[in-house]
Every structure is written in C-alpha cells, then in structure tokens.
C-alpha cells in the first residue's frame, strides 16, 4: 500500500524542522514505524543530573516506539515507552494514559503535537487519573519520595549510552 501523502509530509517536516528535545525517525523498511526519543523536561524528575558548572552532566532521554495504524489519521498513533519510567500515567508495559491518544484524538492532530503532549505529561504528572495505580498512590501519599524514585529510575534507565 502506498504511503499516504499526509504521512510523507509529516515525516518530511519532522526531519527538516525537528522539535527541540524530541526526535522521531522512521524505520527504513517500515515508514509507519518510528523510533522516538524524548528529553525529560527541565525542572522535572526526568530531567537528568543537573551540574551547576556545565548545566548538565547527562540528560534523561526516553525511548519510545510509535506506529501509525492503517486508518491514521482517523485513529490516533500507537505509542509506547520503551525506557522504564516511574510515572503515574505510564504503566509497566510503557503504555500511556493521555486523553489525546484516546477519545480526544482529532485527525487534525499530528505526530509532532502528540509527542509534545507526552513531553508535557512528563513535566506535569497527573496522579488523579492514573494508569499505574501503585505509582499514583505513592505519588499522592508522599510526593517527595515519589519524585526521588522517579529521579532514581531516570538515572538507572534513561541514561544515554
């Protein structure tokens, strides 16, 4: 099946004008399948290790996979975290609870806008609408401890190799 013009245009633009802190590269053998990397937003526990002199010693980089189903853009893309992450709206399989990926999807949205939404979700976890109940619970009971765990996990799993 020929690739729809919409996907070609979106891919072109993603590669030509990438969003800061986000990269999405399609596989050569399957142009509907993207390798995604999202930088943990600053001021968040996913940011990485901040060092005063150089600002960063290293940065939290999260890998995701993104797939555009056949009826994209009528249905939302399928996205999943590959990097382990301690976040109330991401479960242990990496699935994401985000309204625009489900019932608030609009065909006018794009890969670019969705990835920005996910980055924003990292900056603003929402424990009131949890996908991982245990994580959300610890987030609500002791936010400081939860943030510390999230930072620890980032250090453990989201380090660039």
């Amino acid at each position: 099946m020929a690739l729809p013009k919409r996907i070609i245009k979106e891919t072109e633009r993603l590669l030509a004008e990438p969003v800061p802190g986000i990269s999405a590269v399609p596989h050569e053998d399957n142009l509907r399948y993207f390798d995604v990397e999202i930088h943990g937003p600053s001021q968040s526990p996913y940011e990485g290790e901040v060092h005063f002199a150089v600002r960063y010693r290293w940065r939290g980089i999260f890998k995701l996979e993104l797939f555009l189903p056949d009826d994209y853009p009528m249905t939302p893309p399928k996205i999943r975290f590959l990097t382990k992450i301690f976040h109330p709206n991401v479960d242990k399989l990496g699935r994401i609870c985000l309204d625009v990926l489900k019932n608030n999807w609009s065909p006018a949205l794009q890969i670019r806008t969705i990835l920005l939404s996910i980055q924003a979700l990292l900056g603003a976890p929402n424990p009131d609408d949890p996908l991982a109940p245990d994580v959300a619970k610890s987030w609500k009971e002791n936010e400081q401890a939860a943030i510390a765990t999230a930072r620890e996990w980032t250090q453990k799993h989201a380090v660039p190799n």
Binding site: P4, K5, P73, M74, S106, P107, A108
Partner: protein, 529 residues
C-alpha cells in the same frame, strides 16, 4: 397535537397475569404522551378503569421504534417553531438539555449565546450546508491539494476535504458508536456536526445507523424510558417510578414481546422481593461467602500448620497429614498432653471448649437457614425451566390432542394458559424465598408464609396434572380441573403479591438486613430462626 396526562391511565392493568395477551390497544399513538416527569407510581385509583388497581401494579407504556421517532420529531418541531431556529439546531439543543423542553426554552430565552455555545452550536445565521471548491485549499488531514478538490466545513470554518470528512464521520459512527456528539474534526473545536450536514456527506447505510444511534440517545437520556432487555426487542418502556421509590414498589412491566422485567433494575420479574433484596440475594448466592460458611461449620484447622481438616470419621486422635502434628480433635490441644486419658478428652468441658462449640453451632444454624431458603429458591428456578421444556412438548401435545379428540385449536388453549401460569407462579415463588430469607419473624411473616404455602401447593398440584400423558388430558373432567387450578394459581399469586406490595408500600415489613431508604429496620437480626 398536544393532549396530555392521559398516558398515566393507559396501562396494561390487571390482565398481565397472562403475558401473551398483553394489550396493545393503548399504543395507538405517541401523541398522548406527557413529558412532565412526575413521580407517580399510581398505586391508587385509576380514572378510566374506575376500580381499585391491585397494589403491585404500576403504570407503564410500551413504545415501538416508530413511536420513539415520532416523539422526538414532535419535540423538535415544537422547539423549532417557538425558538425560530432550524430543526437540526433544535435537535442538538434538545439533546444537550436531555430532552427537557421547558428548561431549554427558559434558558435559551435568558441567554441564547451561552446556551448555543454550551450545546456546541455556532451563533451565525443558518445557511444550508454545502460542498465547496476553494482555490488554494490544502486539506490538513490528508495534505491533498489541487484544483477541483471539494471541501466541507460546518459553521466554525474548519475546512477539510470531502473524503476526509466522510472518513471521519464513518469512523465516529461505525467504530465509536457516536451520534449525538460528533464534533468538528479540528482539535479543540466543540462544534457539533448536525444531522443535515451529515446527511449530505454519508451514504444511506451510515445515515440509517446514525439515526438509529440518535434514537438510542433519546431513550438513554430520559430517566422515565428504558429499553426492553429481551434479545432483539427494539421497544422502549416508559414508567414513572423513581429510583428512590424502589423500596416501596417493585415496578414490574411487560413488553409487547411478552418479556416481563423490573423497571428498576432491568432484571426479569422478581416480585415480590424489592430490587435491593434481590441484589443482596444474588450476590450472596454468587459469592464465596457460603463456601466459607460451610468450611467454618464443618472443618477445623490444624493448630500447627493451619491446613483445613474435615473429620470424616474415626477417633479424636488426629495426625495432620501434612505436618504430622498430633492433636485432639475435641480440645485442639497436643495429643501427648492427654496422658493416660486417651480417647476421651477430659478437657472437653472447659470454657474454651464450650465457646468453640457455641461458635460452631451458631455458624451451622445460619448456614442451615440460608440453605433452607436457597434450596427452595433454586428448586423453583429449575422447575420453571423444566416446565418450559414441558411446554414445548405441550405444543406437540396440543396438536396431537386436536387430532385425537377432535378438539379445536381454541379448545386446547387451556394447556397454553396452564403452562404460562405455571411459569409465572414459579417465578414468583422463587423470589418469595429470597424475600423470606431477609424477613424478620412476626405476624406479617406468618401470613406471608401461609400465602406462600397456598400458592406453592396450588402450583405443585397444577404441575402434576400438567405432566399427565395425552390420553388422560383428553378427558374433559381433567380439562376442567386444569382450568380451575390454573385460575386458582393465578388468583393465589395475585393475593400474595397484593399483600406483599401493600405492606411494602406502607413500610410494614421488617427486614433483618439494612435497606437503604426509609424502610424500617428495627427488630433486626434477633429474630432469626
């Protein structure tokens, strides 16, 4: 056409004992339907019948798909005329207000812009939806462009090509089952795609599905309407009984498809037990609480490894099969401590032993009480099923009987009514046991149990006659007996239901469980048998 408040009287009244001949004479039109939702279980007098309605009966009305459509159309037309807006907009507004016409008109008069916005309507004057070809247009969804590319937009102006729009709508309707709230495809735009725009874009098959879904929201939006839960039945039932009245009435309704169900909880007919008891009972029967009860009544645990042990014979010297722990079944103490008094535990009369025995006895009594009611409940449930099987055979019997005895079709109908009566009565009997399980003991309960006994005896009698072979059935004497018994059963059932419903409405029953609402709960668990 706007006649009101006579739907209350249009009821399927006392002839619902035989569900198959339920009346459809009051179905003539939907126009005599009153949209005020007044709480009115109508337990008193009925205007047109003019005599006391039995207490367990409640007024309801069956609507077929065409009636439902007509009701919506009438409302839409009315709002369309009063507010001077298009029919499509009127429909969207009505759905937004859950078909409460009065509130819609009131709110709209106060502040039209706010109401329109909240409902997802634009404020610009209405123009007919149409496809346009705009020079330089690029579709944001498929990225197609070029001369002659037809595009469409609703009033918000978010324009997409026709193919994408079509695709989007069919996705919403087919995959998501959405109809009343299909919004503009643009992200964050709340404007609703109206029916006329939709009709312009999609194929007839999808259009039909769309209107079917819209009809559905009409019934689902209104508290006084519910779908008949029978398979393949498309009718809806209207009944004014409110949720808060459910501890006072058991609103049983019967659809044109002959399915009888409770309007309160959609389960099939469970008179005389109120919905909440039914829920409790079903949960009790379904969950493991009774298994646990049995275990506590019949087993003990090994004092060392806590394995559950059922003693099925032998002496009191127990050796746990798992951990080889040796102990006395009576006092649960170490066997070695028994010294020389082997095989007769002299610690039996000690306080701890007495307490343990009491706890066991109590657990046994409540288990036996539950089993008493459950066995009878389950028995009637099963018998009703068997009677149904017999009925299918009866149909053959009826044909055979016509051949052998020369009776006409109408003359063998008595078997049909006997079978119907059997099933209805058994259904009632079944629930009387669940009901009785929760009843505290008092005089009312005695009366109830007498009624229950009478009905049960009558039903069993009828059931026995009903099973006779065809050769005997042909006997005119037996025929008369069956007919008598049938009507006797039906009468006993009415008496029982009438009595329970009346007491329920007056709040006279005492239950041994807490019933939310105003039902009295005094007397409580001390009255258990």
């Amino acid at each position: 056409m706007d006649s009101d408040d006579d739907f209350m009287s249009a009821v399927s009244s006392e002839d619902d004992i035989l569900p198959d001949d339920s009346d459809n004479d009051d179905l003539s039109g939907a126009e005599d339907f009153d949209f005020d939702d007044e709480p009115d279980p109508d337990l008193g007098m009925s205007k047109d019948i003019g005599r006391k309605r039995v207490a367990y009966d409640i007024s309801f009305k069956v609507y077929q798909p065409a009636d439902i459509q007509k009701q919506q159309d009438d409302l839409i037309n009315e709002v369309n005329m009063i507010l001077d807006i298009s029919k499509e907009e009127a429909a969207i507004l009505l759905r937004h207000f859950r078909w409460n016409k009065e509130r819609l008109i009131e709110d709209y008069m106060d502040a039209p812009p706010q109401v329109l916005e909240a409902a997802g309507l634009a404020q610009e004057p209405t123009s007919l939806p149409r496809l346009e070809v705009k020079p330089g247009f690029v579709c944001d969804i498929c990225c197609e462009e070029g001369p002659g590319l037809a595009s469409f937009a609703i009033k918000c102006g978010h324009r997409y090509c026709v193919d994408c729009y079509r695709h989007y709508l069919s996705q919403k309707i087919k995959e998501e089952g959405e109809a009343a709230r299909i919004q503009c495809p643009s992200d964050g735009c709340d404007l609703i795609v109206d029916a006329r725009s939709l009709d312009l874009l999609v194929n007839p098959e999808l259009k039909e599905r769309y209107h079917e879904l819209l009809n559905r929201t009409y019934v689902e939006d209104k508290d006084t309407l519910k779908w008949c839960p029978a398979p393949d039945c498309q009718n809806a039932i209207e009944c004014g009984v409110k949720k808060k009245d459910l501890d006072k009435v058991v609103p049983t309704v019967s659809c044109l498809c002959a399915h009888r169900f409770c309007f309160g909880c959609i389960l099939s007919d469970h008179q005389p037990a109120p919905c909440e008891l039914v829920k409790k009972w079903l949960k009790k029967c379904a969950d493991d609480s009774e298994t646990a009860n049995w275990i506590s009544a019949n087993t003990k645990e090994c004092p060392k490894c806590n394995s559950t042990i059922e003693k099925n014979g032998g002496c009191n010297h127990m050796t746990c099969r798992k951990c080889k722990h040796e102990f006395c079944w009576m006092c649960m103490g170490l066997w070695s401590e028994h010294g020389t008094s082997w095989y007769s535990c002299n610690r039996f009369e000690e306080k701890s032993g007495t307490e343990a025995r009491d706890a066991q006895a109590k657990s046994r009594v409540s288990l036996e009480r539950y089993l008493h009611y459950y066995n009878r409940y389950a028995n009637h449930e099963q018998s009703a099923r068997l009677d149904k099987d017999i009925y299918t055979k009866t149909e053959k019997k009826m044909v055979q009987l016509q051949k052998e005895s020369g009776m006409s079709w109408i003359e063998v109908q008595y078997l049909n009514s006997a079978s119907q009566a059997l099933q209805t009565c058994r259904q009632t009997l079944m629930w009387t046991y669940a009901f009785a399980f929760y009843l505290a003991r008092n005089n009312l309960t005695e009366i109830f149990e007498d009624n229950q006994k009478d009905l049960e005896m009558a039903v069993e009698g009828l059931s026995e006659m009903f099973e006779k072979p065809v050769t005997e059935l042909a006997d005119p004497k037996l025929k008369v007996e069956i007919m008598d018994k049938t009507s006797y059963c039906n009468k006993r059932r009415i008496i029982l239901l009438d009595d329970t419903a009346q007491n329920l409405a007056d709040g006279r029953w005492t239950f041994n469980v807490e019933l939310t609402g105003s039902a009295p709960t005094s007397g409580g668990p001390s009255n258990r048998r």
